[in-house]
Subunit: 254 residues, 2 copies
Amino acid sequence: MDSPFVMKLEQFRRFSDEDRRLLSELTSKRQQQYGAREDIVREGEHSPDIHVVISGLACRYKILQDGRRQIMAFLVAGDPCDSEIFILKEMDHSIGTLMPSVIASIPGDTMKDLLLNRPGIALAFWWNTLQDEGVLRERIIDEGRRDAYSRIAFMIYEILLRLRAVGVMDDESFDLAITQTDLADATGLTPVHVNRMLQRLREEKLIAVEGKRWTVLDPAGLRKAAQFEANYLHLDRAKDEPDSEAGKRLKGLI
Amino acid sequence: MDSPFVMKLEQFRRFSDEDRRLLSELTSKRQQQYGAREDIVREGEHSPDIHVVISGLACRYKILQDGRRQIMAFLVAGDPCDSEIFILKEMDHSIGTLMPSVIASIPGDTMKDLLLNRPGIALAFWWNTLQDEGVLRERIIDEGRRDAYSRIAFMIYEILLRLRAVGVMDDESFDLAITQTDLADATGLTPVHVNRMLQRLREEKLIAVEGKRWTVLDPAGLRKAAQFEANYLHLDRAKDEPDSEAGKRLKGLI
DNA sequence: CGCCGGGTTGACCCCACTCAATGATGGTGG
DNA sequence: CCACCATCATTGAGTGGGGTCAACCCGGCG
Protein backbone atom coordinates (compact mmCIF):
# COMPACT_ATOMS: atom_id res chain seq x y z
CA MET A 1 0.00 0.00 0.00
CA ASP A 2 1.54 3.25 -1.14
CA SER A 3 1.55 6.39 0.95
CA PRO A 4 -1.08 8.99 0.07
CA PHE A 5 1.75 11.24 -1.01
CA VAL A 6 2.89 8.82 -3.71
CA MET A 7 -0.71 8.16 -4.72
CA LYS A 8 -1.35 11.85 -5.03
CA LEU A 9 1.65 12.49 -7.25
CA GLU A 10 0.97 9.33 -9.20
CA GLN A 11 -2.45 10.60 -10.27
CA PHE A 12 -0.47 12.25 -13.00
CA ARG A 13 2.08 9.75 -14.19
CA ARG A 14 3.35 6.37 -13.13
CA PHE A 15 6.68 6.49 -11.35
CA SER A 16 9.56 4.15 -11.90
CA ASP A 17 9.94 1.72 -9.02
CA GLU A 18 13.06 3.55 -7.97
CA ASP A 19 11.29 6.94 -7.90
CA ARG A 20 8.39 5.47 -5.98
CA ARG A 21 10.73 3.96 -3.43
CA LEU A 22 12.58 7.25 -2.99
CA LEU A 23 9.38 9.19 -2.45
CA SER A 24 7.95 6.69 0.02
CA GLU A 25 11.14 6.74 2.01
CA LEU A 26 11.17 10.50 1.99
CA THR A 27 7.93 10.97 3.85
CA SER A 28 8.18 7.98 6.16
CA LYS A 29 11.25 9.21 7.98
CA ARG A 30 10.35 12.38 9.75
CA GLN A 31 6.72 12.44 10.72
CA GLN A 32 5.25 14.62 13.39
CA GLN A 33 1.88 14.61 15.11
CA TYR A 34 0.10 17.98 15.25
CA GLY A 35 -2.98 18.84 17.27
CA ALA A 36 -5.98 20.67 15.88
CA ARG A 37 -5.52 24.32 15.01
CA GLU A 38 -1.73 24.36 15.09
CA ASP A 39 0.38 26.25 12.59
CA ILE A 40 2.78 24.28 10.42
CA VAL A 41 4.25 27.29 8.65
CA ARG A 42 3.44 30.90 9.37
CA GLU A 43 3.11 33.83 6.99
CA GLY A 44 6.40 35.69 6.71
CA GLU A 45 8.49 32.75 7.79
CA HIS A 46 10.92 30.77 5.74
CA SER A 47 11.07 27.09 6.53
CA PRO A 48 14.05 24.98 5.52
CA ASP A 49 11.83 21.92 5.11
CA ILE A 50 8.97 20.96 2.86
CA HIS A 51 5.89 19.57 4.58
CA VAL A 52 3.48 16.91 3.40
CA VAL A 53 0.13 16.02 4.94
CA ILE A 54 0.08 12.30 5.78
CA SER A 55 -3.28 12.18 7.50
CA GLY A 56 -5.78 14.64 8.88
CA LEU A 57 -6.64 18.01 7.40
CA ALA A 58 -4.77 21.28 7.02
CA CYS A 59 -5.42 24.49 5.15
CA ARG A 60 -3.75 27.51 3.61
CA TYR A 61 -5.09 30.63 5.27
CA LYS A 62 -4.48 34.25 5.91
CA ILE A 63 -5.59 36.48 8.79
CA LEU A 64 -6.77 39.86 7.53
CA GLN A 65 -6.21 43.20 9.23
CA ASP A 66 -9.62 43.10 10.87
CA GLY A 67 -8.95 39.67 12.32
CA ARG A 68 -11.11 37.65 9.97
CA ARG A 69 -9.64 34.48 8.55
CA GLN A 70 -9.81 33.44 4.92
CA ILE A 71 -9.08 29.82 4.07
CA MET A 72 -7.76 29.61 0.54
CA ALA A 73 -7.30 25.88 0.16
CA PHE A 74 -7.76 22.65 2.04
CA LEU A 75 -4.83 20.26 2.21
CA VAL A 76 -5.70 16.59 2.56
CA ALA A 77 -3.59 13.43 2.89
CA GLY A 78 -0.89 13.41 0.25
CA ASP A 79 -0.79 17.13 -0.37
CA PRO A 80 2.57 18.90 -0.28
CA CYS A 81 2.21 22.17 1.63
CA ASP A 82 4.99 24.50 0.72
CA SER A 83 7.05 23.45 -2.26
CA GLU A 84 7.23 27.13 -3.15
CA ILE A 85 9.59 27.81 -0.31
CA PHE A 86 12.60 26.87 -2.45
CA ILE A 87 12.12 29.91 -4.51
CA LEU A 88 10.25 32.48 -2.51
CA LYS A 89 11.90 34.28 0.31
CA GLU A 90 9.02 33.94 2.68
CA MET A 91 5.53 32.51 2.81
CA ASP A 92 2.75 34.89 1.76
CA HIS A 93 0.22 32.90 3.79
CA SER A 94 0.12 30.50 6.71
CA ILE A 95 -0.53 26.78 6.79
CA GLY A 96 -2.20 25.21 9.78
CA THR A 97 -4.06 22.09 10.80
CA LEU A 98 -7.83 22.01 11.24
CA MET A 99 -7.87 18.68 13.06
CA PRO A 100 -5.19 16.46 14.61
CA SER A 101 -2.91 15.53 11.73
CA VAL A 102 0.33 13.78 10.90
CA ILE A 103 2.73 15.91 8.90
CA ALA A 104 5.99 14.72 7.32
CA SER A 105 8.90 17.03 6.68
CA ILE A 106 11.40 16.61 3.91
CA PRO A 107 14.73 18.42 4.28
CA GLY A 108 15.06 21.10 1.65
CA ASP A 109 18.44 19.84 0.48
CA THR A 110 17.18 16.32 -0.07
CA MET A 111 14.28 17.70 -2.01
CA LYS A 112 16.51 19.89 -4.12
CA ASP A 113 18.66 16.89 -5.04
CA LEU A 114 15.62 14.94 -6.10
CA LEU A 115 14.25 17.75 -8.22
CA LEU A 116 17.55 18.21 -10.00
CA ASN A 117 18.38 14.54 -10.55
CA ARG A 118 15.01 12.87 -10.93
CA PRO A 119 13.14 14.41 -13.83
CA GLY A 120 10.13 12.19 -13.18
CA ILE A 121 9.77 13.55 -9.68
CA ALA A 122 10.38 17.13 -10.72
CA LEU A 123 7.67 16.77 -13.35
CA ALA A 124 5.22 15.38 -10.80
CA PHE A 125 5.86 18.33 -8.52
CA TRP A 126 5.38 20.84 -11.27
CA TRP A 127 2.17 19.12 -12.22
CA ASN A 128 1.04 19.29 -8.63
CA THR A 129 1.61 23.05 -8.63
CA LEU A 130 -0.46 23.39 -11.78
CA GLN A 131 -3.28 21.36 -10.28
CA ASP A 132 -3.22 23.63 -7.26
CA GLU A 133 -3.51 26.59 -9.59
CA GLY A 134 -6.48 24.99 -11.27
CA VAL A 135 -8.16 24.49 -7.93
CA LEU A 136 -7.58 28.12 -7.05
CA ARG A 137 -9.05 29.31 -10.32
CA GLU A 138 -12.09 27.16 -9.78
CA ARG A 139 -12.53 28.64 -6.34
CA ILE A 140 -12.54 32.09 -7.88
CA ILE A 141 -15.40 31.04 -10.11
CA ASP A 142 -17.06 29.51 -7.10
CA GLU A 143 -16.93 32.72 -5.12
CA GLY A 144 -17.61 34.98 -8.03
CA ARG A 145 -20.56 33.30 -9.64
CA ARG A 146 -22.18 30.62 -7.50
CA ASP A 147 -24.72 31.22 -4.76
CA ALA A 148 -24.19 30.10 -1.18
CA TYR A 149 -25.97 26.78 -1.65
CA SER A 150 -23.85 25.73 -4.63
CA ARG A 151 -20.72 26.97 -2.95
CA ILE A 152 -21.14 24.71 0.05
CA ALA A 153 -22.08 21.78 -2.15
CA PHE A 154 -19.04 22.49 -4.30
CA MET A 155 -16.64 22.55 -1.41
CA ILE A 156 -17.91 19.23 -0.08
CA TYR A 157 -17.83 17.60 -3.49
CA GLU A 158 -14.27 18.71 -4.09
CA ILE A 159 -13.16 17.28 -0.76
CA LEU A 160 -14.94 14.03 -1.60
CA LEU A 161 -13.15 13.80 -4.93
CA ARG A 162 -9.74 14.62 -3.56
CA LEU A 163 -10.05 12.18 -0.69
CA ARG A 164 -11.16 9.48 -3.09
CA ALA A 165 -8.19 10.15 -5.34
CA VAL A 166 -5.78 9.35 -2.53
CA GLY A 167 -7.84 6.46 -1.21
CA VAL A 168 -8.65 7.53 2.34
CA MET A 169 -12.41 7.02 2.32
CA ASP A 170 -14.84 4.29 3.33
CA ASP A 171 -17.52 4.20 0.68
CA GLU A 172 -18.92 7.71 0.59
CA SER A 173 -18.02 8.64 4.14
CA PHE A 174 -15.06 10.44 5.58
CA ASP A 175 -14.06 11.59 9.02
CA LEU A 176 -13.34 15.29 9.04
CA ALA A 177 -13.42 17.36 12.17
CA ILE A 178 -14.28 20.39 10.12
CA THR A 179 -16.46 23.02 11.77
CA GLN A 180 -19.08 25.15 10.13
CA THR A 181 -16.88 28.13 10.93
CA ASP A 182 -14.06 26.55 8.92
CA LEU A 183 -16.39 26.07 6.00
CA ALA A 184 -17.52 29.67 6.37
CA ASP A 185 -13.95 30.98 6.31
CA ALA A 186 -13.29 28.90 3.22
CA THR A 187 -16.37 29.94 1.28
CA GLY A 188 -16.52 33.57 2.33
CA LEU A 189 -19.90 33.10 3.98
CA THR A 190 -20.95 33.56 7.59
CA PRO A 191 -21.20 30.55 9.92
CA VAL A 192 -24.91 31.23 10.34
CA HIS A 193 -25.55 31.00 6.63
CA VAL A 194 -23.35 27.93 6.23
CA ASN A 195 -25.51 26.29 8.84
CA ARG A 196 -28.68 26.99 6.89
CA MET A 197 -27.21 25.73 3.65
CA LEU A 198 -26.01 22.50 5.29
CA GLN A 199 -29.49 22.00 6.67
CA ARG A 200 -30.85 22.29 3.18
CA LEU A 201 -28.34 19.79 1.80
CA ARG A 202 -29.37 17.38 4.56
CA GLU A 203 -33.08 17.90 4.01
CA GLU A 204 -32.54 17.12 0.36
CA LYS A 205 -30.77 13.90 1.36
CA LEU A 206 -27.58 14.83 -0.45
CA ILE A 207 -25.37 14.55 2.60
CA ALA A 208 -25.53 13.36 6.20
CA VAL A 209 -23.42 14.50 9.10
CA GLU A 210 -23.13 12.65 12.39
CA GLY A 211 -20.57 14.21 14.64
CA LYS A 212 -17.37 14.33 12.65
CA ARG A 213 -18.48 11.79 10.11
CA TRP A 214 -19.57 13.23 6.79
CA THR A 215 -21.40 11.01 4.34
CA VAL A 216 -22.29 11.85 0.79
CA LEU A 217 -25.64 10.09 0.29
CA ASP A 218 -26.15 11.14 -3.30
CA PRO A 219 -22.92 11.96 -5.15
CA ALA A 220 -24.67 12.70 -8.43
CA GLY A 221 -27.15 15.00 -6.74
CA LEU A 222 -24.42 16.80 -4.84
CA ARG A 223 -22.43 17.21 -8.00
CA LYS A 224 -25.42 18.73 -9.69
CA ALA A 225 -26.09 21.08 -6.80
CA ALA A 226 -22.45 22.16 -6.98
CA GLN A 227 -22.55 22.74 -10.76
CA PHE A 228 -19.35 20.79 -10.70
CA GLU A 229 -17.08 20.33 -13.70
CA ALA A 230 -14.05 18.21 -13.03
CA ASN A 231 -11.68 19.18 -15.79
CA TYR A 232 -9.81 21.67 -13.65
CA LEU A 233 -8.46 18.88 -11.46
CA HIS A 234 -6.79 17.30 -14.50
CA LEU A 235 -7.54 13.82 -13.30
CA ASP A 236 -8.10 12.81 -16.91
CA ARG A 237 -4.93 10.78 -17.06
CA ALA A 238 -6.17 8.61 -14.27
CA LYS A 239 -9.53 8.30 -16.00
CA ASP A 240 -7.88 7.25 -19.25
CA GLU A 241 -6.22 4.36 -17.49
CA PRO A 242 -9.31 2.70 -16.05
CA ASP A 243 -7.23 -0.18 -14.72
CA SER A 244 -5.04 2.09 -12.66
CA GLU A 245 -5.74 2.38 -8.98
CA ALA A 246 -6.61 6.06 -9.26
CA GLY A 247 -8.90 5.28 -12.16
CA LYS A 248 -10.84 2.75 -10.12
CA ARG A 249 -11.17 5.03 -7.16
CA LEU A 250 -12.60 7.85 -9.23
CA LYS A 251 -14.97 5.76 -11.33
CA GLY A 252 -18.31 7.45 -11.77
CA LEU A 253 -17.22 10.70 -10.21
CA ILE A 254 -15.39 12.47 -13.00
CA MET B 1 15.52 48.67 -23.50
CA ASP B 2 14.57 45.14 -22.55
CA SER B 3 11.32 43.55 -23.58
CA PRO B 4 8.60 43.52 -20.94
CA PHE B 5 8.91 39.74 -20.92
CA VAL B 6 12.52 39.90 -19.74
CA MET B 7 11.67 42.66 -17.30
CA LYS B 8 8.86 40.62 -15.88
CA LEU B 9 10.97 37.54 -15.31
CA GLU B 10 13.84 39.63 -14.06
CA GLN B 11 11.74 40.98 -11.21
CA PHE B 12 12.84 37.84 -9.49
CA ARG B 13 16.48 37.38 -10.29
CA ARG B 14 19.04 38.97 -12.57
CA PHE B 15 19.79 36.91 -15.66
CA SER B 16 23.17 36.26 -17.14
CA ASP B 17 23.71 38.28 -20.33
CA GLU B 18 23.44 35.09 -22.29
CA ASP B 19 20.11 34.13 -20.72
CA ARG B 20 18.75 37.61 -21.27
CA ARG B 21 19.79 37.54 -24.90
CA LEU B 22 18.17 34.15 -25.42
CA LEU B 23 14.90 35.29 -23.88
CA SER B 24 14.78 38.53 -25.84
CA GLU B 25 15.38 36.68 -29.05
CA LEU B 26 12.71 34.18 -28.19
CA THR B 27 9.86 36.63 -28.08
CA SER B 28 11.02 38.94 -30.84
CA LYS B 29 10.79 36.35 -33.57
CA ARG B 30 7.19 35.31 -33.91
CA GLN B 31 4.88 38.12 -32.95
CA GLN B 32 1.28 38.37 -33.99
CA GLN B 33 -1.23 41.18 -33.80
CA TYR B 34 -4.59 40.27 -32.28
CA GLY B 35 -7.72 42.37 -32.27
CA ALA B 36 -9.87 43.00 -29.24
CA ARG B 37 -11.85 40.06 -27.90
CA GLU B 38 -10.02 37.34 -29.79
CA ASP B 39 -9.10 34.00 -28.28
CA ILE B 40 -5.44 33.07 -28.06
CA VAL B 41 -5.99 29.62 -26.61
CA ARG B 42 -9.35 27.99 -25.99
CA GLU B 43 -10.46 25.75 -23.15
CA GLY B 44 -10.01 22.09 -24.07
CA GLU B 45 -7.36 22.79 -26.68
CA HIS B 46 -3.72 21.88 -26.57
CA SER B 47 -1.41 24.39 -28.18
CA PRO B 48 2.09 23.41 -29.26
CA ASP B 49 3.35 26.91 -28.52
CA ILE B 50 3.69 29.06 -25.46
CA HIS B 51 2.34 32.59 -25.73
CA VAL B 52 3.60 35.79 -24.17
CA VAL B 53 1.81 39.14 -24.06
CA ILE B 54 4.05 41.81 -25.58
CA SER B 55 1.62 44.70 -25.42
CA GLY B 56 -2.07 45.17 -24.80
CA LEU B 57 -4.20 43.22 -22.36
CA ALA B 58 -5.43 39.66 -22.20
CA CYS B 59 -7.15 37.55 -19.58
CA ARG B 60 -7.73 34.02 -18.41
CA TYR B 61 -11.44 33.31 -18.44
CA LYS B 62 -14.05 30.64 -18.46
CA ILE B 63 -17.58 30.65 -19.82
CA LEU B 64 -20.01 29.00 -17.41
CA GLN B 65 -22.94 26.79 -18.35
CA ASP B 66 -25.37 29.68 -18.08
CA GLY B 67 -23.26 31.78 -20.42
CA ARG B 68 -21.76 34.12 -17.87
CA ARG B 69 -18.07 34.81 -18.11
CA GLN B 70 -15.66 34.76 -15.22
CA ILE B 71 -12.28 36.43 -15.68
CA MET B 72 -9.77 34.79 -13.39
CA ALA B 73 -6.68 36.83 -14.15
CA PHE B 74 -5.51 39.72 -16.25
CA LEU B 75 -2.41 39.25 -18.35
CA VAL B 76 -0.37 42.37 -19.06
CA ALA B 77 2.78 43.02 -21.10
CA GLY B 78 5.44 40.50 -20.22
CA ASP B 79 3.10 37.82 -18.88
CA PRO B 80 3.49 34.28 -20.18
CA CYS B 81 0.03 32.82 -20.85
CA ASP B 82 0.20 29.09 -20.90
CA SER B 83 3.43 27.61 -19.63
CA GLU B 84 1.31 24.86 -18.12
CA ILE B 85 0.63 23.35 -21.51
CA PHE B 86 3.85 21.34 -21.34
CA ILE B 87 2.42 19.21 -18.68
CA LEU B 88 -1.32 19.31 -18.88
CA LYS B 89 -3.15 17.60 -21.65
CA GLU B 90 -5.48 20.44 -22.33
CA MET B 91 -6.28 23.92 -21.08
CA ASP B 92 -8.87 24.08 -18.32
CA HIS B 93 -9.69 27.67 -19.25
CA SER B 94 -9.43 30.00 -22.21
CA ILE B 95 -7.14 32.94 -22.82
CA GLY B 96 -8.28 35.88 -24.88
CA THR B 97 -7.48 39.51 -25.56
CA LEU B 98 -9.52 42.35 -24.11
CA MET B 99 -8.03 45.00 -26.40
CA PRO B 100 -5.84 44.91 -29.52
CA SER B 101 -2.64 43.21 -28.41
CA VAL B 102 0.64 41.86 -29.68
CA ILE B 103 1.29 38.27 -28.67
CA ALA B 104 4.53 36.36 -29.20
CA SER B 105 4.64 32.60 -29.56
CA ILE B 106 7.53 30.44 -28.52
CA PRO B 107 7.72 26.96 -30.03
CA GLY B 108 7.23 24.34 -27.36
CA ASP B 109 10.40 22.48 -28.30
CA THR B 110 12.56 25.56 -28.04
CA MET B 111 11.05 26.28 -24.67
CA LYS B 112 11.62 22.75 -23.49
CA ASP B 113 15.29 22.98 -24.43
CA LEU B 114 15.68 26.19 -22.51
CA LEU B 115 13.99 24.82 -19.41
CA LEU B 116 16.19 21.75 -19.40
CA ASN B 117 19.50 23.44 -20.18
CA ARG B 118 19.19 26.86 -18.60
CA PRO B 119 18.55 26.52 -14.90
CA GLY B 120 18.32 30.28 -14.48
CA ILE B 121 15.48 30.47 -16.96
CA ALA B 122 13.70 27.42 -15.55
CA LEU B 123 13.88 28.99 -12.12
CA ALA B 124 12.43 32.24 -13.39
CA PHE B 125 9.54 30.36 -14.95
CA TRP B 126 8.82 28.42 -11.82
CA TRP B 127 8.89 31.62 -9.86
CA ASN B 128 6.47 33.16 -12.28
CA THR B 129 4.06 30.28 -11.72
CA LEU B 130 4.31 30.80 -7.98
CA GLN B 131 3.63 34.50 -8.33
CA ASP B 132 0.56 33.66 -10.40
CA GLU B 133 -0.58 31.39 -7.62
CA GLY B 134 -0.12 34.17 -5.11
CA VAL B 135 -2.21 36.49 -7.24
CA LEU B 136 -4.96 33.87 -7.44
CA ARG B 137 -4.96 33.38 -3.69
CA GLU B 138 -5.22 37.09 -3.16
CA ARG B 139 -8.16 37.22 -5.49
CA ILE B 140 -9.90 34.59 -3.38
CA ILE B 141 -9.50 36.83 -0.37
CA ASP B 142 -10.70 39.69 -2.48
CA GLU B 143 -13.90 37.96 -3.46
CA GLY B 144 -14.45 36.29 -0.14
CA ARG B 145 -13.92 39.13 2.25
CA ARG B 146 -13.88 42.53 0.62
CA ASP B 147 -16.90 44.60 -0.34
CA ALA B 148 -17.54 45.82 -3.86
CA TYR B 149 -15.83 49.17 -3.33
CA SER B 150 -12.58 47.64 -2.09
CA ARG B 151 -12.70 44.98 -4.75
CA ILE B 152 -12.74 47.49 -7.59
CA ALA B 153 -10.03 49.56 -5.92
CA PHE B 154 -7.99 46.41 -5.44
CA MET B 155 -8.23 45.35 -9.03
CA ILE B 156 -7.13 48.76 -10.28
CA TYR B 157 -4.27 48.95 -7.81
CA GLU B 158 -2.99 45.55 -8.80
CA ILE B 159 -3.03 46.48 -12.46
CA LEU B 160 -1.17 49.70 -11.62
CA LEU B 161 1.50 47.77 -9.75
CA ARG B 162 1.94 45.13 -12.39
CA LEU B 163 2.16 47.64 -15.21
CA ARG B 164 4.69 49.63 -13.24
CA ALA B 165 6.80 46.54 -12.66
CA VAL B 166 7.22 46.00 -16.38
CA GLY B 167 7.60 49.69 -17.13
CA VAL B 168 4.73 50.40 -19.49
CA MET B 169 3.20 53.44 -17.74
CA ASP B 170 3.47 57.18 -18.02
CA ASP B 171 3.48 58.53 -14.49
CA GLU B 172 0.31 57.22 -12.94
CA SER B 173 -1.61 56.80 -16.17
CA PHE B 174 -2.12 53.84 -18.42
CA ASP B 175 -4.11 53.16 -21.55
CA LEU B 176 -6.40 50.21 -21.11
CA ALA B 177 -9.44 49.65 -23.24
CA ILE B 178 -11.04 47.77 -20.40
CA THR B 179 -14.82 48.01 -20.13
CA GLN B 180 -16.88 48.08 -16.99
CA THR B 181 -18.30 44.74 -18.06
CA ASP B 182 -14.78 43.30 -18.10
CA LEU B 183 -14.20 44.59 -14.60
CA ALA B 184 -17.52 43.11 -13.54
CA ASP B 185 -16.64 39.68 -14.93
CA ALA B 186 -13.32 39.84 -13.12
CA THR B 187 -14.68 40.90 -9.74
CA GLY B 188 -17.86 38.86 -9.74
CA LEU B 189 -20.01 41.99 -9.61
CA THR B 190 -22.61 43.30 -12.04
CA PRO B 191 -21.70 46.00 -14.57
CA VAL B 192 -24.23 48.31 -12.99
CA HIS B 193 -22.63 48.04 -9.59
CA VAL B 194 -19.12 48.40 -11.00
CA ASN B 195 -20.29 51.65 -12.54
CA ARG B 196 -21.46 52.99 -9.20
CA MET B 197 -18.25 51.99 -7.43
CA LEU B 198 -16.13 53.64 -10.13
CA GLN B 199 -18.17 56.80 -9.72
CA ARG B 200 -17.40 56.75 -6.05
CA LEU B 201 -13.67 56.28 -6.66
CA ARG B 202 -13.79 59.25 -9.03
CA GLU B 203 -15.76 61.42 -6.64
CA GLU B 204 -13.18 60.70 -3.98
CA LYS B 205 -10.45 61.78 -6.42
CA LEU B 206 -8.65 58.46 -6.24
CA ILE B 207 -8.81 57.79 -9.95
CA ALA B 208 -9.77 59.55 -13.17
CA VAL B 209 -10.92 57.95 -16.39
CA GLU B 210 -11.05 59.74 -19.72
CA GLY B 211 -11.94 57.39 -22.52
CA LYS B 212 -9.47 54.56 -22.35
CA ARG B 213 -6.98 56.45 -20.25
CA TRP B 214 -6.96 55.48 -16.59
CA THR B 215 -5.10 57.70 -14.15
CA VAL B 216 -4.44 56.94 -10.53
CA LEU B 217 -4.63 60.36 -8.88
CA ASP B 218 -3.90 59.20 -5.36
CA PRO B 219 -1.98 55.91 -5.20
CA ALA B 220 -1.80 55.91 -1.41
CA GLY B 221 -5.52 56.54 -1.09
CA LEU B 222 -6.36 53.87 -3.62
CA ARG B 223 -4.11 51.43 -1.84
CA LYS B 224 -5.89 52.14 1.39
CA ALA B 225 -9.32 51.77 -0.21
CA ALA B 226 -8.18 48.42 -1.57
CA GLN B 227 -6.81 47.23 1.79
CA PHE B 228 -3.84 46.24 -0.27
CA GLU B 229 -0.91 44.24 1.04
CA ALA B 230 1.79 43.63 -1.50
CA ASN B 231 3.64 40.65 -0.12
CA TYR B 232 1.75 38.18 -2.27
CA LEU B 233 3.37 39.56 -5.41
CA HIS B 234 6.80 38.70 -4.02
CA LEU B 235 8.33 41.79 -5.48
CA ASP B 236 10.53 42.03 -2.41
CA ARG B 237 13.65 41.07 -4.28
CA ALA B 238 13.24 44.05 -6.52
CA LYS B 239 12.62 46.23 -3.50
CA ASP B 240 15.77 45.00 -1.83
CA GLU B 241 17.79 46.10 -4.79
CA PRO B 242 16.76 49.74 -4.90
CA ASP B 243 19.23 50.41 -7.68
CA SER B 244 17.66 47.87 -9.97
CA GLU B 245 15.31 49.06 -12.64
CA ALA B 246 12.37 47.20 -11.12
CA GLY B 247 13.21 48.66 -7.73
CA LYS B 248 13.08 52.19 -9.08
CA ARG B 249 9.84 51.65 -10.87
CA LEU B 250 8.12 50.33 -7.79
CA LYS B 251 9.44 52.88 -5.34
CA GLY B 252 6.77 54.09 -2.96
CA LEU B 253 4.23 51.53 -4.07
CA ILE B 254 5.20 48.39 -2.22
C1' DC C 1 -21.29 21.67 38.27
C1' DG C 2 -20.10 25.45 35.29
C1' DC C 3 -17.71 26.58 31.40
C1' DC C 4 -16.73 26.68 26.52
C1' DG C 5 -16.84 25.76 21.71
C1' DG C 6 -19.80 24.63 18.46
C1' DG C 7 -24.61 24.23 16.29
C1' DT C 8 -29.30 26.18 15.68
C1' DT C 9 -32.95 29.54 15.35
C1' DG C 10 -35.35 34.05 14.66
C1' DA C 11 -35.82 39.00 13.54
C1' DC C 12 -34.20 42.54 11.06
C1' DC C 13 -31.36 45.03 7.70
C1' DC C 14 -28.48 46.41 3.85
C1' DC C 15 -25.44 45.59 -0.03
C1' DA C 16 -25.52 44.30 -4.37
C1' DC C 17 -28.67 42.39 -7.97
C1' DT C 18 -32.43 42.91 -11.41
C1' DC C 19 -34.93 45.18 -14.72
C1' DA C 20 -35.53 48.86 -17.57
C1' DA C 21 -34.86 53.21 -19.70
C1' DT C 22 -31.81 56.86 -21.38
C1' DG C 23 -27.39 58.98 -22.75
C1' DA C 24 -22.92 58.99 -24.83
C1' DT C 25 -19.64 57.47 -28.20
C1' DG C 26 -17.64 55.80 -32.11
C1' DG C 27 -17.45 53.03 -36.16
C1' DT C 28 -19.63 52.01 -40.76
C1' DG C 29 -21.72 52.48 -45.05
C1' DG C 30 -24.40 55.12 -48.23
C1' DC D 1 -20.77 64.18 -44.25
C1' DC D 2 -24.37 62.33 -42.03
C1' DA D 3 -27.64 58.62 -40.64
C1' DC D 4 -27.55 54.55 -38.45
C1' DC D 5 -26.41 51.16 -35.28
C1' DA D 6 -23.81 48.76 -31.83
C1' DT D 7 -21.56 49.10 -27.70
C1' DC D 8 -20.77 51.02 -23.48
C1' DA D 9 -21.89 54.17 -19.53
C1' DT D 10 -25.30 55.98 -16.52
C1' DT D 11 -29.46 56.43 -13.70
C1' DG D 12 -33.61 55.02 -11.00
C1' DA D 13 -36.77 51.94 -8.53
C1' DG D 14 -37.61 47.87 -6.38
C1' DT D 15 -36.10 43.27 -4.46
C1' DG D 16 -33.77 39.53 -2.26
C1' DG D 17 -29.77 36.83 -0.68
C1' DG D 18 -26.87 36.77 2.77
C1' DG D 19 -25.15 39.50 6.78
C1' DT D 20 -25.76 40.97 11.68
C1' DC D 21 -27.07 40.47 16.25
C1' DA D 22 -28.61 37.91 19.84
C1' DA D 23 -30.49 34.14 22.18
C1' DC D 24 -30.54 29.34 23.23
C1' DC D 25 -29.20 24.45 23.01
C1' DC D 26 -26.06 20.75 23.46
C1' DG D 27 -22.14 17.77 24.51
C1' DG D 28 -17.50 17.38 26.34
C1' DC D 29 -14.47 18.33 29.89
C1' DG D 30 -11.94 20.09 33.92
